[in-house]
Amino acid sequence: MAAVEVTDGITVEAGRARTRRRVLVGVGLAVVFTLPFWAGAYPVSIATMIGFHSILALGLVLLTGLAGQVSLGQAMFYGMGAYISALLTVRVGLPSWPSIFLAAAATGIIAAGVGFVILRLRGIIVAGVTLTVNLIFYYLIMSMGSVTGGATGMIGIPRLVYPGNLPYTAFIFLLVWLVVLALLVFSRNVVNSRSGRALRVLNVLSGGSEDTAQVLGINTMKYKVSAFVVAAVFASIGGSLYAHYTRVIEPSTFHVQLSVIVAIMVIVGGVTTPWGAVIGATVMICITEILRAVAPIVLGGPTGAYELVAYGVVLVATLLFLPEGVYSLPKRLKRRRRASR
């Protein structure tokens, strides 16, 4: 009975806001999933990159946003997905579709082992250790030249096979965004569930406590490792798709720089909501592309250094003015409008 009361308690305004949000999401989905049919090759390729980064960032929503475990190792698991998938298809001769699943499973198992060791540490140290492990991964790939191709990487990775005669870039675009959508729904379900609450209770960064969680019956280690594995599997799926998309991979793509950028993306977008990951990836990739176009003309020289500065500026600005990320912007504007009325 009480449940009914609560539902009734939701105001008409909240109901309207929900309708507006649904319309917004509907329009967004329609625009995204028709993009390859009306937009040019350049916007489609940018949107594909946004999709890949969204997949990486979505992993951090549960792990960092909810559980408070700051991981700077997403690029490593992205790399594992890419390399395992590439090795299975190029060296073993497996078809490409199953290799994606095998890579995801293998990455998940490795992540469980790594997480089991690392997540014993409490607090922000986890960030440093995951970063170090990412570095080790990078040097391993570089040094195992006979298997991984070393610094030059791997070439000749086969395409994914699909029915119909859609152009390959359009197919990959749709596939990547379908994966983004699926992972977004998965993450959102976890956020609003028993597991999501357990992760939030043990989050020491946002005022929770592992001891309190334990006394509530929450196996903190199991939950932290699960979130770590989920983040890794997301990244691995993204990495495998990336390998079959570009068909050439090199170690520098999976260096710690990407891990850091992904972490910045979720902070910029809003770390506690799956939408924040997609928003953050979109904002950051758009900034990169604008800089690439504008910087050489206005400032001269190569753009690499400007990009890093821009990321730093965006990160600091977010932390100062929108600590809950761009996702919280509409809510903030509304609150301000109401206050000024």
Binding site: V6, G9, R194, R200, S209
Partner: protein, 269 residues
């Protein structure tokens, strides 16, 4: 797993008839070289409301931490329903039917009152990461049961109009009640309370006393740390006095009040 099933999986009857419910045997623990508890023996039967008193630093909070599993004793045993629990991890102790409200409550600040209370249902539910992520049927059912139980518990404590509030919007007294709701929704057989009366206003104190009496009448056992006030004398069935980690007296509240040793070392001043 629904609540009824959970109760059935726990040894004994729901609010067990095994006696004593909790037994501490020569329990000792040290923080480095500081001996916080020394050879403490204690037997608590079902339905009792035992109050531990003692000056600051006597080891009262430490004793609760040993029972809930957050701290491991250096020697001695803890038996719950006759089974040793002193070496199992805290989250498993919780599943045996022991819950606690901390001295500072420790609600999770990022989720609503209702969600906080729902975390108390963790012990009798089991949907994991994948089933919640894919919203499998049993996960949805569980979620609905947790929600209904939590609302019922909040309702029973008079917090129905606070369900959507965030913890920071609550008064101290309300926070304590929410903490209590979170502990009770777990369907515990033993509730640990660390200074539950601390900082409460008079009407909240009366409410809490009524609530504790109702709990013990329902067969729930309470072990709490408090100062020996008239209110506590009124609800407690037994008082245990700790002094520098040692148990120096135990008995009915009135007897403790008149115990010479206790008066001399603790109540005297």
């Amino acid at each position: 797993m629904l609540r009824a099933e959970y109760m059935a999986t726990r040894s004994g009857f729901p609010h067990g008839s095994t006696d004593p419910l909790l037994e501490l045997r020569r329990l000792s623990v040290a923080y480095g070289r500081l001996v916080a508890l020394k050879d403490v023996d204690l037997r608590i039967s079902s339905g009792e409301l035992v109050c531990i008193i003692g000056p600051n630093g006597a080891g009262k909070t430490t004793l609760l931490k040993l029972v809930n599993g957050l701290l491991k004793p250096s020697s001695g045993e803890i038996l719950f329903r006759g089974e040793q629990i002193e070496s199992i991890p805290a989250y498993k102790v919780a599943r045996c039917g022991i819950t606690q409200m901390f001295q500072d409550v420790q609600l999770c600040p990022t989720i609503s009152v209702l969600d906080n209370v729902m975390t108390g249902c963790h012990v009798w539910t089991r949907a994991g990461f994948l089933s919640t992520g894919f919203r499998r049927g049993h996960a949805r059912e569980e979620e609905a049961t947790m929600r209904a139980s939590s609302l019922e518990q909040l309702n029973a404590l008079g917090l129905t109009d606070r369900v959507t509030a965030m913890p920071r919007e609550l008064s101290w007294g309300e926070q304590k009640l929410v903490g209590l709701a979170r502990a009770l929704v777990a369907q515990p057989s033993l509730v640990l309370l660390d200074e539950p009366y601390g900082g409460l206003m008079q009407h909240e104190i009366d409410k809490l006393s009524t609530l504790l009496r109702r709990l013990t009448c329902g067969g729930v056992t309470v072990l709490m740390v408090e100062h020996l006030t008239d209110v506590v004398m009124d609800v407690a069935s037994k008082v245990v006095v700790l002094h520098y980690g040692e148990k120096i007296a135990e008995g009915e509240p009135q007897a403790i009040r008149n115990d010479e040793k206790v008066v001399a070392t603790y109540l005297g001043e």
